[in-house]
């Protein structure tokens, strides 16, 4: 690997690990949020950036995983490390079902995106009717303490959550790096670039597309588990909402689809700027709902129009790095 990149990465890693020692609680919470979106964005990126399948319904996996793990904790006291397996299983099954239906019936592009939206929306309304999981009133899990690190139940200090998310994000980064260099990475990119040509080279595109969807869903499920135990409350209306899906994809699109650093950079830029705007307005005495979203929309608009490949590729060229 390029020495420059390795050096920069090491620096970044050190800074991230040391952050809780110097940061205020507010900055720490923002940093945790950035890492959350960086992670979720990486997971989504596997499906879209690597394999070229546009999913606008990733909130489905976050929601399923969150409710699965929170439900088990709420009703049976089963901790998240066990509950996560159910979450992964559910999301993998859901992803496999969507992928199978879509690819078997030749649905792609915009129709595929609409299909993913439909599944998420269907589930959103469905969960409103599941009384066992709280229904529309929401599911709340008890915050027993915030003083000590109880990793087993994911109850603890904000620093603990920060490090958990950091570990997830770092893990995702390494996993994606490995995937890109593997046969899967080559085959996925081939399918993304030209599916017909990929088939002519012996690639079973159905199988590999399924793999991308399933891997992406399974990765996203961990974000869902984290979401449940970090926020401690889940509402179908919120968790499965299409806005959640869009928030997940904003990072990779702005940072750069298909790249390793794109999702992370995009998440950082977006969260920092958005929070900056909210702070600015608050300082001016304005408390306006919806301003943050309008801002997201405008940034997205500008990026899609003028930086179609995202910020990272241009930035990388300027810095003299590659990939």
């Amino acid at each position: 690997m390029n020495l420059r990149i390795a050096g920069l990465l090491a620096l970044l890693a050190a800074a991230l690990v040391a952050l809780p020692l110097v940061a205020s609680p507010y900055v720490l919470s923002v940093a945790t949020l950035i890492l959350y979106f960086a992670y979720a964005g990486q997971a989504w990126n596997v499906m879209m950036g690597f394999a070229g399948q546009l999913s606008l319904g990733h909130s489905l996996y976050v929601g399923l995983a969150g409710y699965a793990s929170a439900g088990l904790f709420f009703h049976y006291g089963i901790g998240p490390w066990a509950g996560l397996w159910l979450a992964i299983a559910l999301c993998t099954a859901a992803g496999a079902a969507i992928g199978f239906l879509a690819f078997r019936f030749g649905i792609s592009g915009v129709y595929f995106a609409l299909l993913t939206i439909a599944f998420a929306e269907f589930t959103r309304i469905g969960f409103d009717h599941i009384k066992w999981l709280g229904g529309p009133g929401g599911l709340f899990i008890k915050v027993s303490q915030r003083e000590t690190w109880d990793l087993a139940n994911l109850r603890g200090t904000p620093e603990m959550f920060y490090y958990v998310m950091l570990a997830l994000a770092a893990g995702a980064f390494v996993l994606c790096w490995l995937l890109l260099r593997s046969r899967a990475g080559y085959y996925w990119q081939a399918i993304r670039e030209n599916e017909e040509a990929a088939q002519a080279l012996g690639i079973n595109t159905f199988r590999w597309k399924m793999l991308a969807v399933v891997v992406s869903a399974a990765m996203t499920s961990l974000a869902g588990v984290f979401f449940a135990f970090y926020y401690n409350n889940l509402f179908p209306e919120q968790v499965f909402h299409i806005s959640r899906s869009i928030e997940i994809i904003l990072g990779p699109i702005i940072g750069g689809i298909g790249t390793l650093f794109g999702p992370i950079l995009g998440a950082a830029v977006l969260t920092v700027l958005a929070d900056g705007i909210t702070e600015l307005l608050a300082a001016l005495g304005l408390e306006i709902p919806g301003v943050k979203q309008v801002f997201y929309g405008l940034v997205l608009l500008v990026v899609v129009m003028y930086l179609p490949n995202g910020i990272w590729p241009t930035l990388a060229r300027r810095l003299g790095l590659s990939k």
């Binding site: 260099r181 080559y186 670039e193 088939q199 002519a200 080279l201 690639i203 079973n204």
Partner: protein, 242 residues
């Protein structure tokens, strides 16, 4: 010795339009066969039938004695047939080397082995200097070379070339001919090519099959075919450069 590829009375219609009607021909192992005919004769349809893009309505396609009609394109590739496309389909966002590596992964054990094999093929096709460039930045002749390199990387026994010479200058054309001749001679690569550029057909093909309106109207050695009155008639009005 039985032929490597047998196309046995295949027919294919598209919504009532008969593209190919009871076409039969063989390709012997180690041979170079040219498939020629006017536009719309059904040549690419036959390629697509062999390559598994669609299945014939009637008839069979056999490869190394095994039936392959009805298989998916990736299964056909796994069986040992590589193909290029008339309109090149490079993986635009990937480098030249990565493009060919995708092909090499078909038979290689791992990514490093695939990369090594790909690098050799890239050199052979004269793209060595451009291996790290994105495929989107290549000129047309280079894209054609890339297309061939990628198909070759899958280590096929039979290579289907769909009008690879179109758009090339005579010099570039001769270069490509040289590469194919060498592959055929040194490695016994069997080639079936669709071509309009007669310069290439006459230089490469040891046998020619002529298609018109979806039917095989002539076959044999090049010298015989170009004198066949049926062939001359279907090309009437066209200047065939020999």
């Amino acid at each position: 010795m039985s032929p490597l590829l047998e196309v046995a009375t295949v027919s294919k219609s598209f919504r009532g339009l008969k593209a190919v009607t009871e076409a039969s021909f063989d390709v012997a192992k180690g041979d170079i066969v040219g498939l020629i005919g006017p536009n719309g004769a059904g040549k690419t349809t036959i390629f697509n039938l062999v390559a598994g893009v669609f299945a014939p309505d009637h008839g069979q396609v056999r490869f190394a004695g095994r039936r392959i009609d009805g298989l998916r394109p990736d299964q056909v590739c796994a069986a040992g047939i590589g193909r290029t496309f008339q309109i090149v389909k490079p993986f635009a966002g990937l480098s030249v080397l990565d493009n060919v590596t995708v092909g090499a992964l078909q038979r290689a054990q791992g990514v490093s082995a695939a990369k090594r094999h790909a690098a050799k093929i890239v050199e052979r096709l004269g793209l060595g200097a451009k291996r790290e460039l994105p495929a989107s930045s290549l000129t047309l002749p280079d894209r054609k070379r890339l297309e061939v390199a990628r198909a070759l990387a899958t280590r096929p026994q039979l290579l289907l070339l769909d009008e690879v010479m179109a758009g090339l200058t005579p010099t570039e054309c001769d270069q490509m001919v040289g590469v194919f001749r060498e592959l055929n001679r040194a490695e016994g690569l069997t080639i079936l090519l669709i071509e309009h550029v007669m310069r290439a057909v006459m230089a490469l093909a040891r046998h020619i099959v002529v298609l018109n309106h979806g039917e095989v109207i002539s076959r044999g050695a090049p010298e015989e075919v170009v004198r066949d009155p049926a062939v001359l008639e279907c090309y009437l009005g066209e200047e065939a450069e020999v």
